[in-house]
């Protein structure tokens, strides 16, 4: 074969080989194992991972009942690579349930999915109506249950968000549908430990 035919054939082969760069991908489980090993060798800063901290905060806040974010665990809504700042957004004030409840839930869900697609949503939950408010007293604890608990601490839901800076977090908070339904929202940064 003349040299030029070799070169042309080589070029065609090289183009086919380039496609092999699309995979295979490493199994997802390896990432966690690598992080664990690095931590056990003292190569990563010690302390609860950001993911565990957020989940702990969520569990401490709420009884999980239903959820606004559909399909958590699907590839589209998996948590983003965590940037530096994470925020908790609390939805204050119950929204009266009524005939358009389903529509409102869809509105919140649509907003949450929009955030997820931009890599800003970590979690979001609508809170159920059951509530237990405990306070410590010299005699022990007092317990107020719904509706007294609701009047004392009227939380209807929360979101955990990531944002590049406080301005972005505020912009996200301002866009929350809860504000359009007579509720208030409270934005708090999550402190890295």
């Amino acid at each position: 074969m003349p040299e030029t035919d070799h070169d042309a054939a080589d070029e065609r082969l090289a183009r086919r080989l380039r496609i092999l760069a699309d995979g295979p991908a490493p199994p997802a489980s390896v990432e966690g194992r690598v992080v664990a090993e690095l931590r056990s060798r003292g190569l990563l800063r010690h302390g609860a991972s950001w993911r565990r901290r957020l989940l702990a905060a969520a569990a401490a806040l709420a009884l999980f009942a239903g959820g606004w974010v559909a399909g958590r665990g699907s590839a589209d809504l998996s948590p983003p690579t965590p940037p530096a700042a994470t925020y908790a957004l609390f939805l204050l004030g119950g929204v009266e349930s009524g005939p358009d409840e389903a529509e409102r839930v869809e509105e919140y869900r649509g907003w949450a999915i929009g955030l997820a697609r931009r890599g800003r949503l970590v979690a979001g939950e609508k809170l159920g109506t059951a509530a237990w408010l405990l306070a410590g007293t010299t005699g022990g604890t007092t317990l107020r249950t719904a509706p007294a608990a609701h009047r004392a601490a009227p939380l209807s839901g929360f979101f955990l968000l990531t944002a590049d800076d406080p301005e972005e977090a505020l912009a996200i908070a301002r866009s929350c549908p809860h504000l359009r339904h007579g509720g208030e929202v409270l934005l708090r940064p999550i402190e890295p430990t």
């Binding site: 080589d10 295979p24 690095l38 190569l43 990563l44």
Partner: protein, 202 residues
């Protein structure tokens, strides 16, 4: 398909701004040793590292362990990384060293496995044939082909990665391509035509 189209398709080749952003990510990780920075680095580079390890070894069994070992060595050695090459190149060098050590410690059996890249779900027979043909190359030649034609490293980078001359890299590449073409022709049972109709339009 022009050479430019091929180059721009290589999503993991950093542009100028990408290189600067990576440098500051490295600085931050070295200062903070935080998990989130590490995960960014891990997710950015592991696809390449895993592909290289998997195909260089030619079998799936050790690939995950070697990927893990690569990152442990990388994080340990990061303070000493002089940044005279890209991080991508430096990490690939570590991955290749892990592969070479693994190969020395446990040389493969007499014959290469029939489907060396067991994890690949082939989208076509031709892709499986290609993986197999590449897997049948001798390790040195295979690595040059993988690094150059699949992963887009230059001969200069390959020379550092494999500790060979650029001239050796070029001749190994040429031989590797010729060998792969021969194996593909043998697999097809008949010589491929020199002009493939679909390519003639490129």
């Amino acid at each position: 398909m022009t050479a430019d189209a091929g180059a721009s398709a290589r999503a993991d080749a950093p542009a100028e701004t990408g290189a600067a952003a990576e440098a500051s990510l490295l600085d931050r990780f070295l200062a903070e040793r935080d998990e989130s920075s590490f995960r960014v680095l891990y997710r950015r580079h592991s696809p390449l590292l895993y592909r290289v390890i998997l195909r260089s070894l030619g079998r799936e069994a050790l690939a995950e362990d070697l990927l893990q070992e690569t990152w442990v060595r990388a994080v340990r050695g990061l303070p000493g990384f002089r940044r005279d090459s890209s991080l991508r190149t430096w990490l690939t060098g570590i991955a290749l060293r892990c592969c070479h050590e693994a190969r020395r410690a446990a040389p493969p059996g007499g014959e290469e496995p029939a489907s060396p890249v067991a994890g690949v779900v082939p989208t076509s027979d031709s892709r499986l044939d290609l993986e197999r043909a590449v897997g049948e190359l001798a390790p040195g030649r295979r690595e040059v082909l993988l690094l150059h034609d699949v992963e887009g490293f230059t001969h200069a980078e390959i020379a550092t990665l494999l500790d060979i001359d650029e001239g050796t890299s070029k001749s190994q590449l040429s031989r590797a391509r010729r060998q792969v073409r021969e194996r593909l022709e043998a697999a097809a049972g008949e010589p491929h035509p020199t002009e493939e109709p679909s390519d003639a339009r490129d």
